[in-house]
Every structure is written in C-alpha cells, then in structure tokens.
C-alpha cells in the first residue's frame, strides 16, 4: 500500500473542499423541489394517460413529425429535461446574458410603441409589423423593442431603461421620421400565475422576470412532456409539448429555449453573453433631422404590462 498517494489524496480532498459551505435554506429548497417534482410527475403521468386515450391520431402525429417509432412520454425523462431547462434559465445563469427574442406576427398585424411597451393589433396610429426583436439585458432589465416589416424594413425602435423606480422610454419611428420620450412608472411586478390559461402573457420586469421567469413558471405547472426532437433554426432541439400556452423547443446542449410557439405567433430566442458589443444592441439613438413629437397615450393598465396578446 502506498502511503504517499493516500496522504496526498487526503490532503487534496481537504484542500479542494476547504471553502465549501452549505447554503442557507437548502432544506427549504429541497422541500419545495420535492413537492414540485411530485406535482410534475403526477401531471406528466396524467398527460401520458390522456395521450394514450387520444390514441392513434396523436401517435401518428408524433411519428410523422420525427420519422421514428413513437416513444411514449416518459415522466422521468420529462422531469430531467424540465429540471435542466429550469436551471439553465435560473437568474444566476441568465443574469449575465443578453436575450434576443424575435416574435413573428401573422400578416396584417399592426403594432406600435407606447409608453410602457408595445401596444397594438389594430390601432389606427400603429404600423404594419412583420416581426419585433426584443433585446433584454437580463441582469438590469433594460430592454429594446425593434419592429420590422416582414420584408425587414426598420419600422421603429423603443428603448426602456429603468432607474429609481421609474422607467424612461425613448422611441424612434422610422416610418415617419419622428421620435418621442416619456417617463413611465415602473409597474409593480405582477405575480406569476402558476399556469397561464388566458389569452395574454404578462412578463414581469426585474430579477427572474422576462421570458426566463415566465418560462420557468410555466414549466413548473407540470403539463409539459418531451415529445421528441426537431431541427429548429439549425439546432436539433428537444421539443416539449402539452403546455397550455404553447410548444417549446430547447437546445440539447445548453437547455436554453430556441423557440416558443404561442397562439398564432412564434418567438425565436438567442442567448448572448453580455459583452459591450451585445449590450450596445440595447441602445437607441435618434437620427439627425427627426422631429420630436408628443408620446402617444400610455398603455391602459401599466400595472400589468402585456407584452402581447391574442384571441383564441
């Protein structure tokens, strides 16, 4: 027996874990997780049963989509994938990222910036928009909405920066060469519903807010199951279906969302490091010669900032 190796092993083990301290509240976290997992497994099992009852149609759909014999929904696999997505979207992980979410709207959608975010779908003063890219600094909550026609023409930019409990929005409308600025009260963070069942999504600002917080809260409601794989945007994603608000595709390497389908709209995600170049995407500058105008009326209910909505 070689004592040197054993002594060295003990020393290295001691040194490697010297600074390890158990985080406060681990038992509470374990208890919450245990309850959540019980709920997830129960609901996944219920979803699997429901799928089995629906029978041939659903199975044929899955087989057609993935070109393989269907694998019955597996509660353990689903719980594992959802756990990884939840962890990938935890504030500690995404706070150093810049998220870019591109939302593609159905033809004929009109939308425009108003103090507090975007408003639209049919307003007379709004512009025909094919897609909107929302840039968000997950750490600070600073965001920018950039609207484009379906052909890629820049329609508007609106930047919302937050300081001292208030948000300032600056919007530039390229279609009529105008701009406005407005201070909007910081809306109170609405509580995240356990499971969205309505026809609107409310993204609360701040830590664990935005899309990461929303997706985390909705996955926790337990209705999602792994439904196979699908290539989306060049990524061979894991597909999660069965939730009340849409289908989610996640990157199998990072477990970050790649795409969400939500009613008639779909959103594609990019997760970028918060480098100066990427953070610069959040800035809006007013081009020379643009005329300053009065801002339009703010959103009717700034306390519940709907990012978008649709009617089923």
């Amino acid at each position: 027996m070689n004592m040197d190796l054993e002594d060295q092993l003990r020393l290295d083990m001691e040194r490697a874990t010297r600074d390890v301290r158990v985080p406060h509240g681990l038992a509470i976290k374990a208890d919450r997780h245990r309850r959540k997992r019980q709920r997830t497994v129960r609901m996944a099992t219920a979803a699997a049963t429901a799928t089995a009852l629906v029978g041939g149609v659903a199975i044929a759909g899955v087989a057609g989509a993935f070109g393989e014999a269907p694998t019955s929904p597996n509660a353990k696999l689903t719980a594992y994938v959802i756990g990884r997505v939840q962890r990938a979207l935890a504030p500690a992980k995404v706070d150093d990222m810049v998220g870019a979410v591109r939302t593609t709207y159905p033809p004929g959608t009109t939308i425009g910036p108003v103090p507090g975010g975007l408003s639209g779908m049919g307003g007379a003063s709004h512009w025909s928009v094919g897609y909107v890219v929302v840039w968000a600094d997950q750490g600070t909550g600073v965001s920018k909405f950039a609207g484009y026609t379906s052909g890629g023409q820049h329609v508007f930019d609106a930047e919302i920066s937050r300081a001292n409990g208030a948000a300032t929005e600056t919007a530039v409308i390229y279609r009529d060469s105008t701009w406005w600025t407005a201070t909007v009260p910081r809306p109170p963070a609405p509580p995240l519903a356990d499971c969205i069942r309505g026809n609107a999504v409310y993204l609360r600002p701040g830590p664990d807010g935005g899309w990461p917080g929303f997706i985390r809260s909705q996955l926790a409601c337990g209705a999602y199951t792994v439904a196979g794989h699908q290539v989306v945007g060049g990524v061979d994603t894991i597909k999660l279906t069965g939730g009340p608000w849409g289908t989610l595709w996640v990157n199998p390497a990072s477990y970050l969302p790649v795409q969400v389908n939500f009613g008639p709209q779909h959103m594609t995600f990019q997760w970028l490091p918060a480098t100066p170049v990427n953070l610069a995407q959040l800035n809006v500058s007013v081009p020379a010669g643009f005329q300053q105008v009065q801002p339009p009326p703010p959103r009717p209910n700034p306390g519940t900032p709907a990012t978008f909505s649709w009617t089923r």
Partner: protein, 182 residues
C-alpha cells in the same frame, strides 16, 4: 404543519453538520454545483421518510448520498441514451455540465475519472476515514468488495497520476513524481 417542522428541524441539523455533508457530496459528485444537487436530492429523500427515521438523520443522509452518487450517474447515462434515441440518427453527444470538473487539485481531479463505485469507496475510506467494515456498511456491500474497489481505485489513481506527472514533468511542474508513486 408537520412538514414545516421537519424542514425547520432539518435546517438546524444542516447548520450543524451541513458543511461536512456537502464536502462529501462535492467529492462524490465532482463539482460544487453537482454536490449541492446531490445533497439536495438526498434531503428530498430524507424529508419523504422523515417520520420513519429515528434519531439523527445523518446516517440516513450519508448512506443516501453514497447510493445516489453511484445511481445518479447510471440514471443520467440512461437519460442521455434516451435523448440520443429521440434525436434519431444524430451522432452528436449532449454536453453534460455535470461531467465538468471544477475541482482543480490533481488527485481529486483524477478521482473523478474513476467509476462511481470506486470513487465512493475511496471517498469513504480516505475522506471519511472509515474502516473497511464501516465503508462496507455505508455502501451496502461486502468487505471484500470494499477491499477490491479500494485496491483497483488506488491502482487507477496511481496510473492516472503517473501519466499526469509525466505530462507535468515535461513542463517542470510535477507535483507527484513517479518515484513517490512507486
């Protein structure tokens, strides 16, 4: 109500013994994050059986840590196999951050290359300083299994550290020389 009291009791217990348990979990799992994960899972199991456990929960918790450490990797490997099956025809492997080793000390880093069972035995014997009989009881195996797993684990560490030392010697940074290993 009952569950809340169990959680409160467990928090008190962790304030006393948590650091040591987490250090063990980190060594078994290979990284700080994975160690916390492992301990949290063991705590979940403990909470599930709280009412049936008499006395200090430490024994149950430590046994669970060791058993999970061996099972966990098997489960994860199985889940990754399923994911690969779902992604039919794709040979690309799924990146596994759990496999990332954050521990930098050489022998601990090499320890992570051992199979889970050997690693658990080495941690029990050389971190917890348990006897062969105590290790066997903790791991739920025979003393003979502990002996053979220990011997194989140490032998493998010796080989790995030998090649690591050779590599480092090239750069003049050898920490564990071949002579010391002999």
């Amino acid at each position: 109500m009952h569950a809340d009291r169990a959680v409160a009791d467990l928090e008190l217990f962790l304030a006393e013994r948590g650091d040591l348990l987490l250090r063990t979990a980190v060594l078994l799992a290979g990284s700080r994050e994975a160690g916390e994960d492992l301990l949290q899972t063991a705590l979940e199991r403990l909470l599930k059986r709280w009412t049936t456990i008499e006395g200090s929960p430490e024994g149950y918790l430590r046994r669970t840590l060791y058993h999970l450490a061996a099972d966990r990797w098997r489960q994860q490997a199985a889940l990754h196999r399923q994911l690969r099956l779902l992604r039919a025809g794709d040979a690309a492997t799924v990146a596994d951050p759990m496999a990332e080793v954050e521990l930098r000390d050489s022998l601990v880093r090499l320890l992570m290359q051992l199979p889970p069972r050997q690693r658990a035995v080495i941690v029990a014997r050389y971190w917890e300083q348990l006897s062969e009989a105590e290790s066997a009881q903790l791991l739920g195996c025979s003393i003979g299994t502990v002996k053979s797993a220990t011997a194989r684990g140490l032998q493998r560490l010796r080989e790995l550290s030998g090649s690591s030392a050779r590599g480092q010697e090239d750069g003049g940074q050898a920490r564990i020389s071949k002579e010391r290993m002999a």
